[in-house]
Subunit: 655 residues, 2 copies
């Protein structure tokens, strides 16, 4: 298996020619891996991610079937647009296939209403069964997991310290008094002083030296270690205690109790959070007070809103390009060039999307940067939060702003006049259908190519493996929520919105999804190394976004039926969003708690099973040291080079 | 003390003439009881309630000072209304004192802006200190409380039962397995079958016989007890198990853990709630499934919305009456009568308010009825929920609908056009000032008189005490949230809205609040018997409503400055609601958790203190039986008549 191959890549191993030879079984497995195999190689996150693609594919297969075989013929049979001169209008030819072509007040619009009802019910059913399946998988995954340090540990922050004490004593007192039976140990978090940065730089130099030289340079290593420990001693004196600590417990249940119960009479003190996996900890941000963390959160929200607003500028540029006449007004000298058919097609069709795609490339890293300042203490939370931000950013900017925009202020007033939104959407959305078809095609192409670019260096190094001295340098791409999930969800949004307005968009989406499936699942998915495991915690984001998309689709339907002068159908649409939101509320009650916390039942069961394990005492000793400040780690890292694969030490290389 | 007197009233005691004689100390104490005394007599709820009145009084003393000594002179010095003919317009004379009289664009409007800023800051400061004080009182009250059954017990519902088991076994297995160290006992809840109703009726007859006859009728009692036990046996066979149970624990902390942790892998099963005090349990509603409870909740929300909408009818009638001309159009024959000055004053000034007051009398019981169907399992929760409903009902119907209404559909469209609301409010609110002054005066009067009516029977029976055979018949009025708190909060809302628009309303409010203070605190408050103790849990409702009122005031200010053509002041108003909502958010983080749950710190401290109490084993035995199904109680009730004061048995008489 390639996944095992990667594990081997990390270990210093001797050269064997046979590792280079592909076998038939290998190819077969890579093409058709079962869900169990995927689970064991890449963890639950990968499985859930694949299920998101399959879920979208299922949904749009159903929607596509109705769209192509029922709605498209109905739309074509209308004659609302017959008075349009087809020779002059090149861009709007596709409108014949859209709902715009159906006659006003025509009873065939009821077919569209039926389609909206059918798709809503089908999607809700699929969502429900998927939520049920994933939450059961999540529980199973937990139940079959080996004891891991983060299951036994919580992060406590805002620890109150009396004048004649320190953070360590304060934690010791509080937990021995209030969690007598379960408290195990604690590690106080230290603020990285400037010395830390220096030490870290030195550490990197060591690593370079260490990996480029052979084992014969042990003496040199020894000398540098001595230097390292000196740096460490110096740092040890100067580093500052932060009022936060990782507190470990003897059982998972003990940790969960301390996590979920209000600890202090002052709710801003002794705040508890689930500890991340040791390699997932985001060390740079341990804000010391509740207020500071709260304020930085606010600042991030404001910056995020600001970024969203200034991003309207490229959106307007794109808008300007799609209206060629406006461009001709601004630059009369270009008129002769712009009238050339190929130039106008490139400018109105692909250029706007390319500009949008390029600008959108900046968004995910920007959102990740903002999220990292928001006070999260682990990379997975930062990514999840960034994922959320990117989704809402994309929905707002690419969809709403693009569809509704005239100017930023007009847009604001349109949104304040709530009752007008459905009609406005109903007018503008079909008009933009061809633009979005181009968008889907362009994105499909750019995302495929960018995936390729990301993986090429790895393949190269894999081929060159036997000839390079040090294969540790291979950077294995890791699975990023904040780029991939928003993209799929946004295409889902597009699909739902255009489903009955412009059915032609659905086949393009299906092609995109199939492409994504192939890219992520087969020669490529195995290349990803999971940096951390969230246990599929991002599924609720997918669920919520899907619900949002369906409700938006229903809103647009409401507006369209009003415009098309079918008042009774407008009334019949009203129960749909009510039903959908109630369904969402039920899912939140039924499944969401599983993604927030594991149950007493599951925790106690695991704890009881563990009691009989002979390795538990050794594991608990390991737990006590797993959350050491990374500033303390170089010594053990450098001296136990053979233990590189021990999970505890992986992060040092990556942070 | 009178409160002790009441306690004595409940005990069968011999007649002593000295209990009738008032002493000087008694009167002094009744006039100036300290907060500690109030706490020990009537519990924390009474203290918090008194603090709400004092808080409102403080706020409106500050606001009143600014309104009367700064804003009123500024308003009077304007001459915007000088072209109004004072002889013809009688009702609008008060407008000279309102902001309508200030000239457009006048720089004296900046004084109004300053006043809004000042009052916002003052109210936020008072709110913060009050929240802090009440939350610390809540913790103190808990720390000084004696062990009580509801602190050791939770209610578990939606218990899954396998085919070859029953609810009792299922509970026993689950809790011995998952809460081994802390689980004490359980009582399965039974659905009251028709037999229960019969048994209850019989019980009441017993009680009547029992209380009217002397102790010489022991033989009769014995006979009826035999009958009673027969009924009981019959019932024992026929009563149905509900999939819910009261589960008791050996420590408060044990109960809290089971309460706050997710119990099952299926979050809709093994749902836990805090057990109410035994006498507070609302037995009629133990819905068996999660879905049923959830649906009944939805139905209640819909009914509540429906009630709110149909209540627009009396509001429109009232609106019609205030527009006399309209009335003259509908009934031309009445014209001669309506032109009489006294008749028109009565009809436009007091009649509308009386009609509104009368209609509003129906609302609190109706809301309580709805809340009781919502799935709450204790009376205090039902009352708190009813309180919430009545507030929003009052705000919506009496304030918004009255101020903005023309017709129900117009109102809906006004609310949908979000950006117009401030301007609309700014136009209509000042115009309604005189109406609301009349409203405050009328309500002040009616509430005073209704309080009097409620208390008179009690005073009568107290005087007649030595001459009646059985003093158990005295009905002590109990403190109802759902009527009194919404009233005070609504007057608060009025005060904030009119504070700078029509400053004249504030003195009326102050008089009303002073009246309320005197009524509730002195000859009357001691008469209330707390039915249950929520530990001041309703304070957050007060906090939220106050924040809502301030933000509404700021909205109106925004609209007024726009109308009065002072655009810069309009801009300067915008940061105010942002600041207020941020402040609210901070308070929610800082204080709200204290009202949801007690902290580990507090619970463990109490548990440690209890360990040394010699009476704990006896108390824990008592806990196991405290939540017996009331259908089981008649036997013990009838045979231990002298133990009437034991809390466990009080509810039987009251339910």
């Amino acid at each position: 298996m390639l996944a095992e191959g990667i594990a081997r890549v990390r270990r210093p191993s001797h050269f064997h020619l046979d590792t280079l030879l592909p076998t038939v079984g290998w190819i077969k497995n890579a093409w058709h891996p079962s869900e169990e195999q995927l689970l064991s190689y890449s963890g639950l996150d990968a499985v859930v991610f694949m299920r998101i693609i399959i879920f979208s594919f299922k949904v749009f297969t159903i929607a596509g079937f109705i769209a192509i075989f029922i709605l498209l013929p109905v739309n074509c049979s209308g004659n609302q647009l017959q008075n349009v001169d087809f020779i002059n209008i090149t861009n709007n030819t596709l409108d014949v296939f859209s709902i715009s072509n159906v006659n006003n007040g025509s009873s065939s619009l009821w077919i569209h209403l039926g389609a909206v009802y059918f798709v809503t019910i089908a999607v809700c059913y699929l969502l429900f069964s998927e939520y049920k399946y994933i939450s059961s998988k999540r529980i199973d995954y937990f139940c079959s997991s080996k004891p891991q340090p983060h299951q036994f540990t919580i992060l406590v922050s805002n620890i109150p310290v009396s004048k004649d004490s320190n953070v360590g004593n304060s934690v010791e007192n509080f937990f021995t008094q209030n969690h007598t039976a379960t408290y195990l140990s604690h590690v106080v978090v230290h603020r990285k002083s400037k010395v830390w940065t220096v030490a870290n730089a030195v550490k990197k130099v060591f690593r370079k030296i260490f990996s480029s030289k052979k084992k014969t340079t042990q003496q040199l290593l020894h000398d540098s270690l001595l230097d390292g420990s000196k740096v460490h001693e110096k740092k040890d004196k100067s580093r500052e205690e932060v009022r936060a600590a990782f507190v470990s417990f003897k059982s998972r249940y003990g940790a969960a109790i301390a996590l979920h119960m209000l600890q202090s009479n002052n709710p801003t003190q002794w705040r508890t959070e689930q500890a991340p996996e040791p390699q997932d900890v985001y060390w740079p941000f341990f804000s010391s007070t509740f207020m500071r963390r709260w304020i930085s959160r606010l600042v991030v929200i404001v910056s995020c809103a600001f970024l969203t607003i200034i991003f309207l500028i490229p959106v307007f540029v794109v808008q300007g390009l799609t209206n060629l006449e406006q461009l001709e007004n601004y630059f009369p000298s270009l008129k002769s060039i712009l009238t050339m058919s190929i130039v106008s097609q490139v400018i109105t069709g692909y250029l706007p999307n390319l500009i949008l795609q390029m600008s959108l490339k900046i968004v995910p890293p920007a959102m990740k940067l903002l999220s990292s300042q928001q006070g999260y203490i682990c990379n997975s939370d930062i990514e999840r939060s960034a994922c959320h931000k990117v989704i809402w950013f994309t929905v707002w900017n690419v969809f709403f702003a693009n569809v509704l925009s005239a100017s930023a202020f007009n847009l604001l007033f349109i949104l304040l006049e709530f009752k007008d939104i459905p009609s406005k959407l109903a007018v503008y959305v079909p008009a933009q259908a061809s633009f979005f078809i181009a968008y889907v095609v362009t994105s499909g192409w750019t995302s495929t190519s960018s995936e390729l670019f990301r993986v090429i260096p790895f393949i190269g190094s894999l081929i060159a493996k036997p000839f390079t001295r040090n294969s540790n340098d291979v950077t294995v791409p890791s699975f990023p929520y904040h780029k991939d999930i928003p993209k799929i969800l946004f295409f889902g949004l597009l699909g739902f919105t255009y489903f009955f307005l412009a059915p032609l968009i659905i086949p393009f989406l299906l092609v995109y999804l199939a492409l994504a499936y192939i890219i992520y699942r087969n020669q490529f998915f195995y290349v990803y190394a999971p940096k951390y495991e969230s246990g599929g915690k991002f599924w609720p984001i997918v669920h919520d976004s899907t619900i949002f998309s369906i409700v938006l689709m229903q809103f647009v339907a409401f507006g369209i039926f009003k415009l098309k002068k079918l008042p009774y159908a407008t009334t019949v649409t009203i129960p749909l969003p009510v039903f959908t939101l109630l369904f969402n509320e039920y899912c939140r009650k039924r499944f969401l708690p599983i993604f927030k916390a594991y149950s007493t039942e599951a925790l106690r069961k695991k704890d009881r099973e563990d009691q009989n394990l002979p390795e538990m005492p050794r594991f608990l000793r390991h737990v006590s040291t797993a959350y050491q400040d990374p500033a303390l780690v170089p010594l053990s890292y450098s001296s136990n080079h053979d233990n590189l694969r021990e999970p505890l030490l992986v992060p040092v290389a990556e942070i």
